[in-house]
Subunit: 294 residues, 2 copies
């Protein structure tokens, strides 16, 4: 059976073709996130970019990510937590029955408000399979970081933190931008660590963010170190609120450059990190595909 998996996000589109064992035979990536696709043009874009993979009789495609949102190909209503793989499979949104389906995102409720994710649930299930575990705490760093709790193969709940977006807002649009260099150079570890440490002992980011300005004003933070320090501040703020215990382990899923920063920051809390890369999406899509049945 020919299996195809797509991770169709807001700004990018990645695809993989699998063999029967779940191994990836071929990958493709395009700058065709859903924001670049007009309503009604999803079938044509899909056919143009992946039609050749779908020619074998019985070929199937599973799609995770924002393609299942209101602005995507077809809306796949959120599946409420707790949810396991079987529940995701039961709620797949079929575009062509038996041939193309979208994986639903998850929703949960905490501190009186809903929370949502699309795509990260698939990466988490993929990481479980790759690591051979069924429980754990997962962080998926990014524009909107996700922290996900899994117990016995079931996603119990999760939280979204707008860490990457706050970094960009402060970096580009705030008064701090005036004291920062035009470009982010390579990470300066010591400055990043100092930012993490400051955030961890501060009561909150509204206050700690101002230290970029004052440390600059008093010439206690060299120009080239400021972006690293600010990165440490926002990631430290994220960790400060996560109630992590020393000795605990978390799984970080994402690109190396970013998960390494989390690994570095979490070390200050004596929390160990296992990292999983982009293959988590493929592994998760295959796990779902394998449960659909022939």
């Amino acid at each position: 059976m020919a299996w195809v998996g797509l991770d169709w996000g807001t700004s990018s589109l990645r695809g993989a073709r699998f063999d029967d064992s779940g191994a990836v035979c071929e990958e493709r990536a395009f700058a065709r996130g859903i924001l670049t696709v007009a309503k009604g043009e999803f079938p044509a874009v899909f056919e143009a970019l992946f039609g050749d993979w779908m020619t074998p009789v019985g070929a199937r495609c599973l799609i995770s990510g924002m393609a299942g949102s209101q602005q995507g190909w077809v809306e796949a209503p959120y599946c409420a937590c707790p949810a396991n793989l079987d529940e995701l499979v039961a709620r797949l949104a079929w575009i062509e029955p038996g041939r193309i389906a979208v994986v639903p995102g998850l929703s949960c409720e905490h501190t009186g408000a809903p929370d949502v994710m699309r795509g990260e649930e698939t990466q988490v299930f993929g990481a479980l399979r790759l690591l051979g575990i069924d429980s754990g705490t997962f962080v998926l760093p990014g524009t909107h970081s996700k922290w996900v709790r899994v117990e016995h193969g079931r996603i119990e709940g999760f939280a979204t933190l707008m860490t990457g977006e706050f970094y960009a807002l402060l970096r580009q649009h705030s008064i701090l931008a005036r004291t920062l260099p035009a470009d982010d150079a390579a990470l300066v570890d010591a400055a990043f660590d100092a930012g993490v440490a400051h955030a961890l002992r501060s009561p909150g980011l509204l206050q700690s963010a101002f230290s970029v300005r004052t440390l600059s004003l008093f010439e206690r933070l060299p120009l080239n170190e400021r972006p690293s320090y600010l990165s440490g501040l926002v990631i430290g703020e994220e960790l400060r609120t996560r109630s992590l215990r020393g000795g605990e382990a978390v799984v970080a899923i994402g690109a190396d450059a970013l998960t390494r920063r989390y690994e570095r920051a979490l070390a200050q809390l004596d929390v160990r990190v296992r990292s999983v890369g982009a293959q988590a999406s493929w592994s998760g899509l295959f796990s779902i595909a394998a449960r659909i049945g022939a």
Copy 2:
């Protein structure tokens, strides 16, 4: 003796002429904040806008605010906390000896980083005089809110929180902006209160801010209420980190529209508020002037 006081900030310039008792005889306001004044042009701007007030023999002018910063008329180095009125007087930066002086800002150190203010110290000393007190907790809400502790007439320390700026960043530049109406309408009290309450029970703004998006997504927050809810979130986040005790009282210094929001938010923590308006600057400048001696 003719006394003139100026509050010369980043974006605005206000002036007052006092009689010997400290009563204000006349006020003027101009959109001539220091950002509009080129280096070297401060004397000419001052002469054009306030020269007529300075013609009496022995006329004196005290200036508070960002006019004393590196980008201002003359740099008045920060005075380290704790500091009382006498210390401010001793560290006045005289532009024309005996005639025109700039009040220094204050600096302090907390959680391993410096903090600074310019102008708010004068407002706090003014509020002390207006209220006839010598100790208290003061909040000066704004783009960069200040929380100031005063004991026996001495500013012991303070903290800056970038509350107003975070509101503007989220309102205008974040993903949340897409779900907000173009204009802020009148404050919707219930939505503001809900934002405050959510922030108070949330671990931090990185997480609570996302609720604007999800409550909108699930149609649990009407379009016109979203700016009020977001305002409640950022002010609630500010208060969450202040370690306030129920039954406590704080003094809020600022424009009515803003101090009323803080009064409303602080009521959720059972904290009472006394408010002081723009006259705090004049009262503070007169307190300093009165100590200079003839």
